[in-house]
């Protein structure tokens, strides 16, 4: 029996290629997890229902895999029983049945490489056809042979000596691999890049800060555009019918001192919709004009279709680091709805176009200004989830304020360029929650309170469940309709990763990274 299944596994790997059509039709193969958010629409929703509200209390550990490095943030890709993971400048293929490695891959990190403003981490790979795509800290997009881990090609995306890096999972679209960059604390000029999936040749680049002569350039005073940041460090979403790539853009730099960069600082803190063939900007929506609190708009955009004021529309929703939830028309970028989903003290609300109406006394100062949320925001890079079953947008929310300081900052390439800093409120003054928002409006339907502000993403399933993790190591399942806790497990390590679900031998597994360990659970 076991032999037979093994044979099947081997057999299946012969044809286990992942043409783009398989990713587009992800729901036809509920047992696989073929792209960062499982579907291109950014839902992080599993159609599997074997594990459900009735039996989740019996969930048990099936296996554990130990990472070589601490604080793993990876969201695995799972193809036909094989889990593909990444770490800092590394990747591995794991047996979905045991967690044992089939192959591992490493690329040496140059000794002078420095991460500025984040840890040595990698949030996952992408898969397309017969290749696994990995973005490295030192700036290469590497294509590996899916079956052996051998390198097929590698393309230099950026120069880490200028403060650039890559931590996100690439996004594979039709024939191309899209990547974004980190470096918002180092005075980079951000961009989104696409590479030919077969050859590694650059297909296009979209600069997130317009150059001289381009529309939006005048939103940056003087030469500030050259070191204005606007990184793109979280995986985006894709609409294959509209052929639009949706990507979040991060904070302007220096983070906490906006004096030298008067203006709205486009396209920092924005969502951009890019033409998949050319990389040209179709539309943008800026959440936080002239940001001075490090509120990157680097979130997985969630694409869904629903009725707004009686009209069926193609929508995109974002729960932003600035504590507001936004719903936009994803064809045009038109603002449709927005409201706070967590405590915030920086805006009195949004106007009819979605632009914030600023509160007084929210700017960082020499003496310090207490503002909610803190610089890490009301949510950060970890994923939200959208369940077509409940129509809810689930978000891991952080309730924490900070005193923001402003300082002068000189620019030195490849070093910190932040113009101030923050002191977070003590942990017993902070807390967190998983919140279910009505996706069309952002109205809260329920919340489940957490001991501290979370760093873990959310996954919902057709079993009526919502999975997430806490900074104290709890991995848990909630009822997706009510928020009631149905199961929890102490992993022993802080969870700063996104859950995934897949099948092995026909049975549903749930996986989550917790510090140094990747756990797989099943019934």
């Amino acid at each position: 029996m076991r032999l037979l299944t093994l044979f099947l596994l081997t057999y299946s790997s012969v044809w286990a290629q992942v043409p783009f059509a398989r990713i587009v039709s992800a729901d036809k193969e509920p047992g696989n997890w073929l792209t960062y958010s499982r579907n291109l629409a950014g839902h992080r929703y599993s159609p599997l229902a074997e594990i459900n509200t009735q039996n989740v209390a019996r969930l048990k550990v099936k296996w554990a895999y130990q990472f070589p490095e601490p604080r793993a943030e990876v969201s695995p890709i799972v193809v036909d029983g094989i889990a593909y993971i990444t770490g800092p400048n590394s990747a591995a293929a794991l047996d979905g049945r045991t967690g044992r490695t089939f192959w591992t891959w490493n690329r040496a990190l140059p000794p002078d490489y420095r991460s500025i403003g984040f840890g040595h981490t990698s949030r996952g790979p992408a898969v397309l056809e017969d290749k696994l795509y990995v973005a490295t800290l030192d700036g290469f997009l590497v294509a590996l042979d899916l079956k052996s881990g051998a390198e097929r090609w590698s393309s230099k995306v950026l120069d880490y000596k200028q403060g650039y890096s890559m931590t996100m999972a690439p996004l594979a679209i039709d024939g191309k691999v899209v990547v974004g960059v980190s470096g918002g604390e180092a005075g980079i000029r951000g961009f989104v890049d696409a590479y030919d999936a077969k050859t590694g040749k650059q297909a296009w680049r979209f600069w997130t800060i317009p150059g001289p002569g381009q529309a939006g350039h005048d939103t940056w005073a003087g030469d500030s555009w050259k070191t204005g940041g606007a990184p793109t460090w979280v995986t985006g979403a894709y609409d294959p019918e509209l052929k639009l790539v949706y990507w979040g853009v991060g904070n302007p730099g220096p983070d906490w001192n906006g004096d030298a960069r008067q203006g709205d600082n486009l396209y920092s803190c924005s969502l951009v919709a890019l033409d998949a063939d050319s990389g040209k900007l179709r539309w943008y929506f800026q959440f936080t004009p002239h940001d001075t609190h490090d509120w990157d708009a680097t979130h997985v955009p969630v694409l869904f279709d629903s009725e707004v004021r009686g009209v069926k529309r193609k929508l995109v929703a974002v729960a932003n680091r600035n504590a507001f939830y936004y719903v936009l028309d994803r064809v045009t970028g038109e603002f449709l709805a927005g409201r706070p989903y967590a405590k915030q003290t920086w805006a009195r609300g949004l106007d009819a176009t979605g632009r914030p109406i600023l509160a007084s006394q929210a700017e960082p100062t020499k003496e310090g200004t207490l503002v909610w949320p803190n610089a890490n925001g009301a949510t950060v890079w970890f994923s939200p989830s959208f369940s077509p079953q409940t129509g809810y947008f689930y978000v891991a929310a952080r309730e924490i304020g900070a005193t923001y300081f402003k300082r002068d900052t000189p620019y030195k390439p490849g070093t910190e360029f932040m113009g101030g800093g923050e002191n977070e409120l003590p942990m017993d003054d902070a807390w967190g929650a998983i919140r279910a928002l009505q996706a069309e409006t952002g109205e809260m339907r329920w919340e489940f309170k957490l001991h501290s502000p979370p760093w873990a993403g959310v996954m919902s399933t057709a079993g009526g469940l919502v999975f997430s993790g806490s900074d104290e190591g709890n991995f848990y399942a909630l009822d997706g309709r009510t928020g009631k806790a149905l199961w929890d497990f102490q992993t022993g390590g802080a969870i700063a990763a996104n859950p995934v679900s897949f099948t092995v031998d026909g049975h549903q597994c749930i996986a989550i990274a917790a510090d140094r360990v990747l756990y797989a659970f099943g019934l």
Binding site: G119, E185, G368, E472, N474
Partner: protein, 251 residues
Amino acid sequence: MRVLVLTSVSSILLFSAAAGANAAPAADAAAGKIIFEEHCALCHGFDGGGGRGPDLRRPTLSRAADDEALKSLIEGGIPPEMPDGSLFSKEDIANLAAFVRSLGNVPQEKLPGDAARGEALYRLSGCAGCHIHAGEGVGLGPDLTEIGAKRGPGRLRETLRSPAKTIPDGFLLVEAVTQAGETLRGIRLNEDSFTIQIKDMQSRIYSLRKSELRELKKLRNETPMPSYEGLLSAAEMEDLVAFLAAQRGQP
């Protein structure tokens, strides 16, 4: 409030750095502060109080016992989490080290109290009923064996006067009411989103699931430790401070 604290901390730092015989000149620590805010504060907090990185406001840093060790740590970093200081000049590193040292500097000032009399007061005042010192006593409050290396005399004085204002991390008093109506009061040993672990005043340890509690209160302004203001004279208080400040563990 926060602003006030920051200002007073900085002025103490400058003062103590200038007062210490071997300390770097005040100007260096001030230059180090600017580098710290730009390069270190993102992880260690703007005031050195910690965040993703540890709290540096301690007289003794576990990974850097002296100035030389601290300078070489800044230079080499702690891979992969803490970046190295390869972009800094020797002078930058010395300034940065001076500032970091100043965050937890114990003034070299001579304390007015008498440590020997303080030791007798420690025994007479019942401190050992809640604290362990040199292996003796009850482990309800913090171990005081090396308290002089962890807290400056000013902080020790404040704790003796107003202990509720200086509750250290890991010693929050909580009150839990179980579904059965039983009330438990004690020190929170640990807590996550689903469970809490409590030690009561008799050192009994409880592991509780939050779903089985009717109520859970953080008693943030309370501590089992009494104020010694009024219980001890001003001179006795100084003697006790001198004794505690001298407790630095094994050399």
